[in-house]
């Protein structure tokens, strides 16, 4: 029994929005994917159908993320790249899923971190896993380089945005290839760039000033980790949608390691916090 593709809008073609994007293409007698390296899940490329638009049906698309992740931080150091994030999947204001890995490994030379809609991130990881599995089966010693992963994600996010159905994510791609660290970011509109240090969401405002001040390309791993801890702490203090449970992922010549979750020391014993209602007028 195969699930039937559903469509939100006839204008965008069959099975192009919603869960049907994850449906496998049917295994016809001698079906080969049109393009090598294209994942087998997901719709074929198409153009918006103007005739269906004229039908009068309203166009529907992702308007709102539901389970979200907050900032992801990334810095390069002498021997590689470090990514850091907390492990929270928030449902609006509710801190609902407290052990969600927002930093994931793609292959031995590349990691991806995501904020935004976490179900879209899981879909993106599925696409990347399929590409990695294809590389494995090709068995010619070549795997996706970090810059290729970054480029691929840019195209995917940009094309989804053009279909008015974005993958609601801010992604950070970190990797180490040919002796050089790679660090890039992709936004939900397809905006992308590479830099020596990046952050998504609130991290842009809270962490990047610290990075600009303290980052050097030849930092040691300990210095880089200390800088990230400092940035994570600030993000935890000032970002309402965060928890004190973080992971740090490292890519270097030895490969990828993603740490176990850890907490940071925080200080809350400020006098004004002790009796918050002391100066409040008209308390009921």
């Amino acid at each position: 029994m195969q699930p039937r593709p559903q469509s939100h809008s006839a204008a965008l073609g069959p099975g192009c929005t919603g869960p049907s994007l994850a449906n496998p293409t049917p295994l016809a007698f001698d079906h080969q994917r049109q393009v090598a390296q294209a994942p087998s899940c997901g719709a074929e490329a198409f153009a918006v159908d103007p005739a269906a638009l004229a039908n009068g049906q309203p166009r529907k698309h992702t308007t709102y993320p539901y389970v979200t992740g907050t900032s992801v931080l990334g810095i390069t150091y002498k021997d590689g790249v470090l990514l850091a994030s907390d492990t929270l999947g928030a449902y609006g204001s509710t801190k609902r899923y407290k052990s969600f890995d927002r930093l994931r490994k793609v292959n031995e030379s590349c990691i991806v971190g995501a904020g935004g809609e976490l179900s879209d991130f899981q879909y993106i990881m599925r696409l990347l896993e399929e590409l990695s599995d294809d590389d494995f089966c090709m068995d010619d010693g070549h795997t996706l380089k970090p810059a290729e992963v970054h480029s691929y994600l840019c195209r995917v996010l940009y094309n989804r945005r053009n279909k008015m159905d974005p993958l609601w994510n801010s992604l950070v791609v970190g990797g180490f290839h040919a002796g050089k660290p790679f660090l890039g970011t992709v936004g939900m509109q397809g905006t992308n760039y590479t830099d020596a240090h990046v952050a998504t969401g609130f991290g842009n405002h809270l962490a990047r000033p610290l990075m600009r001040e303290h980052h050097r390309p030849d930092m040691s791993e300990e210095e880089a980790t200390a800088l990230l801890h400092q940035c994570l702490k600030v993000c935890y203090y000032r970002d309402k949608n965060s928890i004190n449970k973080f992971t740090i992922a490292k890519v270097s010549a030895e490969g990828v390691t993603i740490s176990e979750p850890f907490a940071l020391e925080t200080e809350w014993r400020y006098k004004l916090f002790e009796n918050p209602a002391a100066n409040a007028a008209g308390a009921w």
């Binding site: 195969q2 496998p24 899940c41 599995d133």
Partner: protein, 248 residues
């Protein structure tokens, strides 16, 4: 040979009076005339070995692959018509991918073997196509542990402890039966396979040996056996065979 099936061997959709489909038998002959391929299931994994006959001195080493991964946890070795083999590998990859997309889990060995068997069987039903001239040895390592399957040109599939196809299959099967497979680790298994391949090889022309395994040591992923281990296994095999020759 051409006189035997006269009249009943022109298409796969014709039975002979004694109940055989000659086209399928001829496909099996194509496999029987190709280089030997051996597979054994050891206690911690599966080892596949292929005897690649050197058809020309101008061939570059290591071209002409005979073992292929079809997913992380599964791989095949093909014996018979090489081009047919590539088609089967392609189909196996598509089946594994399709299963994973639909069920979310890597395809179990028996499911993949059945799907390949059904696929190969299709080509034994119609006169407009010819049967695949390949035997496929399928090695998987999933939740059910290591498994070895053989898919024949007729579409029948069986699960084996150890099997061989190709020119030297009789000698190879005899040797496999002598092995104590439940106690053999894959490290020892590759030496055993190397020895069998050298033993059954018809000494006129040279051959390349291709070994692949899926075991705990390869992190349960199908891969070519690393070159140092292949070299060590080949050296051990040649030494063992020489020792046996001297004993004789």
């Amino acid at each position: 040979m051409s006189g035997i099936g006269s009249g009943y061997d022109l298409s796969a959709s014709t039975f002979s009076p004694d109940g055989r489909i000659f086209q399928t038998d001829y496909a099996q002959k194509a496999v029987d005339n190709s280089g030997t391929v051996v597979g054994i299931k050891c206690k911690d994994g599966v080892v596949l070995g292929a005897e690649k006959l050197i058809i020309s001195k101008m061939l570059e080493e290591n071209s002409n692959r005979r073992t292929f991964p079809v997913d992380r946890h599964a791989g095949v070795a093909v014996a018979g018509v090489a081009a047919d083999g590539r088609s089967i590998v392609s189909r196996a990859m598509a089946e594994a991918n399709n299963y994973k997309n639909f069920y979310g889990d890597p395809i179990p060995g028996h499911v993949l073997a059945e799907r390949l068997g059904s696929f190969v069987h299709l080509f034994n039903l119609y006169s407009s196509v010819r049967p695949y001239g390949v035997c496929t040895l399928l090695a998987t390592y999933g939740k059910e542990g290591p498994q070895l399957y053989l898919v024949e040109p007729s579409g029948t599939t069986h699960r084996y402890f150890g099997t061989a196809v190709g020119k030297g299959r009789q000698g190879a099967k005899n040797e496999i039966e002598k092995l104590k497979l439940e106690e053999l680790s894959c490290q020892e298994g590759i030496k055993a396979v190397a020895k069998i391949l050298h033993q059954v090889h018809d000494e006129e022309k040279g051959f390349e040996m291709e070994l692949a395994w899926i075991c705990d040591e390869s992190k349960r992923q199908f891969q070519r056996v690393p070159q140092p281990l292949v070299d060590a296994a080949e050296a051990a095999a040649k030494a063992a065979l020489e020792a046996e020759d001297m004993d004789d």
